[in-house]
């Protein structure tokens, strides 16, 4: 950890609490008075920990560890009263917060332990004070400030480290889910390719037609495997977009051509005459729309009706894909756009995440309404192109 940014952070906090050089001087002047009280305060500190199981459970090394920790605590308080608040001082405070995450000691116990220590130090100050009341009050204020600053920097470190650990854990979990999903999605096409190759190499009575069938099957399943990889890479990196006026009619036509729906599904495209162009990146939006169309196809199994329609108003173009499929349960509705969430038997669970990500990068939005058992409507909302009013 680079110490300079930490020291900068500490200076910022010092200025926030109104820390001054005289504060440091008052603390140094009082250090000698407080020192004889430290053993008593530290015994109290650990006696309280003993009474609280959640705090005690982090001490796994028994009396030997407690004795060592008591030594560390004395050193910490002496540094606190030492007047040298430099980068090494701040780094040691930072390390306390970091260490607390490592051993699983909740920050709340640092807060209450410091509160107790604060009470003890202020009491000790009053008990041993020989000078005027005003200086006593100023010294007590300085002591409170330095304790608050220590608490702030320890808590800062705690949160930073806690967050970093959480992110590491989440990354590992995502890696596991993606890995499992990819394995599952690639296994089927690979099995098909493997068995087709087996037939081509080993069949005793192959016919020319069968051979062609198997080669085509291999070709198709290579494309399936390729798509799995493509959707992963397009999820990992939606490239920067070039928003240009897009003819919605052409977008719908080309997307339908590359995503055939099968004979049992009746397709209606309903675009009003004079529909303005939308603003967006054509190729990316074709991917987004393609995912919606394929989802609709999967939701309808072999039979159903797909309606693609659009409306324009107030400088906005809305393109809707409506199917008569199985619909989406209410409990799934809020989650379907999350990465790796899928209600299908097969699928990575990235399609809608990619679609939404693309639409949002085009300054638009993607929303869904659905009725289980009746069907779903996905609507892409984009800005209309101000200059281009055109036929679909």
């Amino acid at each position: 950890m680079d110490e300079n940014p930490l020291l900068g952070r500490y200076r910022e906090l010092q200025s926030y609490v109104g820390w001054t050089e005289p504060d440091a001087e008052r603390i140094v002047a009082a250090a000698g008075l407080l020192d004889p009280f430290l053993p008593g305060l530290i015994d109290d500190f650990y006696a309280v920990i003993e009474q609280h199981p959640a705090a005690r459970r982090v001490i796994t090394g028994g009396q030997v560890q407690i004795d060592r920790l008591k030594g560390t605590l004395v050193q910490w308080i002496r540094e606190l009263l030492g007047g040298e608040y430099d980068d090494a001082y701040v780094a040691r405070r930072w390390r306390i917060g970091w260490r607390h995450v490592e051993i699983g000691l909740d920050q709340v116990y640092t807060n209450v332990a410091l509160s107790r220590l604060r009470t003890g130090l202020i009491q000790a100050l009053h008990a041993s004070w020989q000078l005027d009341d005003q200086t006593l009050q100023e010294t007590a204020r300085a002591l409170n400030k330095i304790l608050d600053l220590d608490l702030a920097i320890i808590e800062d470190a705690y949160h930073a480290e806690y967050l970093a650990r959480l992110q590491r854990t989440e990354r590992m979990a995502v890696l596991g889910r993606v890995g499992g999903g990819v394995a599952h999605e690639l296994l089927n096409p690979l099995n098909v390719i493997q068995t087709s190759v087996y037939y081509l190499l080993n069949a005793a009575h192959p016919t020319p037609e069968k051979n062609v069938h198997h080669l085509k099957r291999i070709e198709r399943n290579v494309a399936v495997a390729h798509n799995v990889i493509t959707s992963l890479t397009s999820f990992a990196m939606v490239p920067l977009l070039a928003p240009l006026p897009i003819a919605i009619g052409r977008l719908v036509r080309e997307t339908l051509e590359s995503n055939p729906l099968g004979d049992g599904i009746d397709v209606t495209v309903d675009l009003p005459v004079g529909l303005p162009h939308a603003l967006g990146d054509f190729d990316q939006l074709r991917i987004a729309l393609g995912n919606l169309i394929r989802n609709s196809r999967d939701a309808m199994s072999a039979r159903g009706r797909l309606v693609i329609s659009a409306v324009a108003s107030d400088g906005v173009v809305e393109l809707s894909v409506t199917d008569t499929g199985v619909g989406i349960e209410k409990s799934d509705l809020t989650r379907i756009m999350e990465p790796l969430y899928s209600t299908k038997v097969s699928g990575l669970g990235l399609g809608l995440t990619i679609s939404r990500s693309i639409v949002e990068k085009n300054q638009g939005s993607l929303r869904v309404t659905s009725e289980p058992g009746r069907g779903s409507t996905f609507t892409i909302r984009l800005f209309g192109s101000p200059s281009e009013g055109a036929t679909p």
């Binding site: 296994l187 099995n191 087709s196 087996y198 198997h214 399943n221 038997v345």
Partner: protein, 131 residues
Amino acid sequence: VTVPEKPSILVADDDPDICANVSDILCDLDYQVDTALNGPSALELVSRQPCDVALLDPRIPGMGGLLPQREIKKSGGTVTLLATAFAGAHTAEQALTAGMWKTLAKAVDFPSLLHVVEQAIDQSLIRMARG
């Protein structure tokens, strides 16, 4: 005098390409092959015409765990094999408890799969002979 019929095999998998490929390979080896894409049609096929061996993927739609395997077994001298990409120890044990003859990893290499199919056919023939 009866002419011995070709040994019959039922292949059930939700991927039509897998069904077609396994069917082509087994037909080429002179087996009689039926395919089913889901549990109910697998059951229907077996109830019409008992098969010697069934190759099942327990994850196909409508399988309801290992229920079809039990139904298929009730129908007569059928030996069933479980082929699954996820034949973990637990699934395999459940399957064997349910009377399944063997479990296979789905990505099994074909020569050993064919060897197991041959063994299964023999089992089926022995059972039929015992009546």
